[in-house]
């Protein structure tokens, strides 16, 4: 090691001024993190979603009667899109935050001038950007593959998808902050996320279910994410556009508050 230059110690009596916002650095790091593992982070979720479209939509779909006048292959695309975004947001948040906690490099962030809400927002941004890229990839392949008439109601689609991305990003960050082990992360995915996804009306209309299941499905948050995407892409679903938007944004707001409480009250610190 050669001698290091320490002539310019940071002055202690000048107000803190950033040349570039620390938030931008951390948000950039979050995006770089998943881009560095690109094939797994992006191509994997797109491929697995497209396999559902091919198997259930293209291969088996012609044996299933259209639902609400929509071919089955097209009918499942919005739900698969919502599920893909949600899964990616969950995986992104848990991987990034849980591993940062486990390996203690989150201490590097806590010890820096980053404020709690900047750390929270940057982590969520990573999940949102990854969800956006995967969602765009899914649509880019699934829409031509199934012949879906792209985006029947653009306003609902944009507003709804923003909420879905935010929900997914927050779910990942919350799960990443609650997880105590990798097994815990995997079990959250298989015991909570996967059943909610499958029972959330991705592959069917709840109107086809007995009344009690129709009602119960509405308690499932994933149901509303699927509905809002279906309204945006296909123009109709089991619920109206206004209640769907209200519920998904209320969900996004509630999760944002939960996530903010975790970071704002320093619960990630010992």
């Amino acid at each position: 090691m050669s001698d290091t230059d320490v002539k310019h110690l940071t002055p202690y009596d000048e107000p803190y001024e950033a040349e570039r916002a620390p938030f931008l650095w951390l948000a950039e790091r979050e995006v770089l993190r998943f881009l560095n593992i690109g094939p797994y982070a992006i191509a994997g979720p797109v491929l697995s979603t497209i396999l559902f479209v091919i198997v259930f939509g293209s291969a088996l779909g012609h044996r299933v009667a259209p639902i609400d006048g929509v071919a089955y292959g097209q009918y499942i695309v919005p739900g698969l899109l919502a599920q893909a975004i949600l899964t990616v947001g969950f995986v992104n948040g848990t991987t990034s935050l849980f591993e940062a906690r486990r390996d203690k490099y989150i201490n590097d962030v806590f010890a820096s001038p980053l404020r709690w809400w900047e750390i929270n927002a940057a982590l969520v941004t990573g999940g949102v950007v990854r969800g956006f890229i995967v969602g765009a990839g899914v649509l880019a392949i699934a829409v031509p593959l199934t012949g879906t008439a792209f985006v029947a109601r653009p306003f609902i689609f944009v507003l709804g998808t923003l909420a879905v991305l935010l929900v997914a990003g927050q779910v990942g960050v919350i799960a990443g902050s609650l997880a105590k082990s990798l097994d815990h992360v995997y079990s959250m995915e298989s015991i909570v996320l996967l059943p909610l996804g499958f029972l959330g009306g991705v592959f069917y209309s709840v109107a086809q279910l007995p009344h009690v299941w129709d009602v119960l499905s509405r308690i499932n948050p994933v149901f509303w994410l699927v509905q809002v995407e279906r309204i945006g892409l296909l123009g109709q679903a089991d619920v109206g556009a206004a209640p769907a938007l209200v519920v998904v944004w209320a969900l996004a707001a509630a999760l944002s508050v939960w996530s903010a409480i975790i970071f704002g009250t320093n619960r990630l610190k010992a």
Binding site: M1, S2, D3, T4, D5, V6, K7, H8, L9, T10, Y12, D13, P15, Y16, E17, A18, E19, R20, A21, P22, L24, W25, L26, E28, R29, L32, R33, N36, I37, E99, A100, D103, K104, Y105, N107, D108, V109, F110, A111, S112, P113, L114, R115, N266, K269, A270
Partner: protein, 247 residues
């Protein structure tokens, strides 16, 4: 002329972990600007908890902490602290160079300056040829150097070193001490924990002995030796810790 505030001032620090363990009990400590301060104590004495609290990594249960007069939680305080933890806690998703650049970024440093400083430190610490590799691919000694480089990239005034020579060979240990001495000579305040008592005696101008979350005694190496009628700081340490264990 305005007097420089203490580099670190701690009053009534207390830390009780969620499991009920009290790691620090009503601890007061003040470090003058430019000090080379050694914190000695057995494992579990509270050294890492104290460092964690100062660095905003651990939530204190009670107490006031200021860094150069700023509350320790403020951005003004946090930009002044450089932390090299005992664990090799490096971001495994980034390259060695990116790790330094992004750490500088978390302190608000612009991209060009961050890149320049990262390259300088990589050369200084002999890591230039490993810049594009991942930290987990480095040897233990190189990882230790990287953690030190990261702690220095934002030019901190208060450098906190928690066992900086744990697990490194003799040659690297002496290199690290030489570097740290140079930093202190140039004005950086050093807060050091180490199990190498002889080196603490040689390097530090003040030493505190910590046990069971309390500072049991403190002073210059010479004053401690005199007080305990001991030949060296190891003997002081043994006497203090034996008395603490018996009490």
């Amino acid at each position: 002329m305005r007097e420089t505030p203490p580099a670190l001032s701690i009053t009534g620090l207390r830390k009780v972990y969620r499991d009920g363990v009290t790691a620090i009990e009503n601890l007061d400590l003040e470090l003058a600007d430019g000090a080379f301060f050694g914190l000695l104590g057995p494992n579990g004495a509270g050294k890492t908890t104290l460092i964690g609290a100062v660095s905003n990594v651990i939530r204190p249960s009670a107490g006031d902490l200021t860094v150069f007069g700023h509350d320790y939680r403020t951005r003004s305080a946090r930009r002044l602290i450089g932390l090299a933890e005992q664990d090799i806690n490096v971001d495994r998703f980034l390259s060695v160079r990116q790790l330094l650049v992004y750490h500088a970024g978390y302190h608000g440093i612009g991209r060009k300056t961050a890149a320049r400083r990262a390259d300088e430190l990589l050369e200084t610490f002999g890591l230039g040829h490993k810049a594009e590799g991942r930290a987990y691919e480095l040897s233990g000694g190189m990882q230790r150097r990287l953690v030190l480089a990261r702690a220095l990239i934002h030019h901190p005034r208060l450098l906190i070193l928690d066992e900086p020579t744990a697990g490194v060979d003799v040659a690297l240990r002496s290199e690290i001490w030489r570097l740290v001495k140079g930093l202190n000579a140039a004005g950086t305040t050093i807060l050091l924990t180490t199990h190498y008592l002889h080196e603490a005696e040689t390097l530090c101008d003040e030493i505190a002995l910590i046990a069971a979350g309390r500072i049991v005694d403190r002073g210059s190496a010479a004053s401690l030796r005199h007080r305990y009628q001991a030949r060296d700081i190891s003997e002081v340490y043994d006497r203090v810790m034996t008395a603490e264990a018996a009490s």
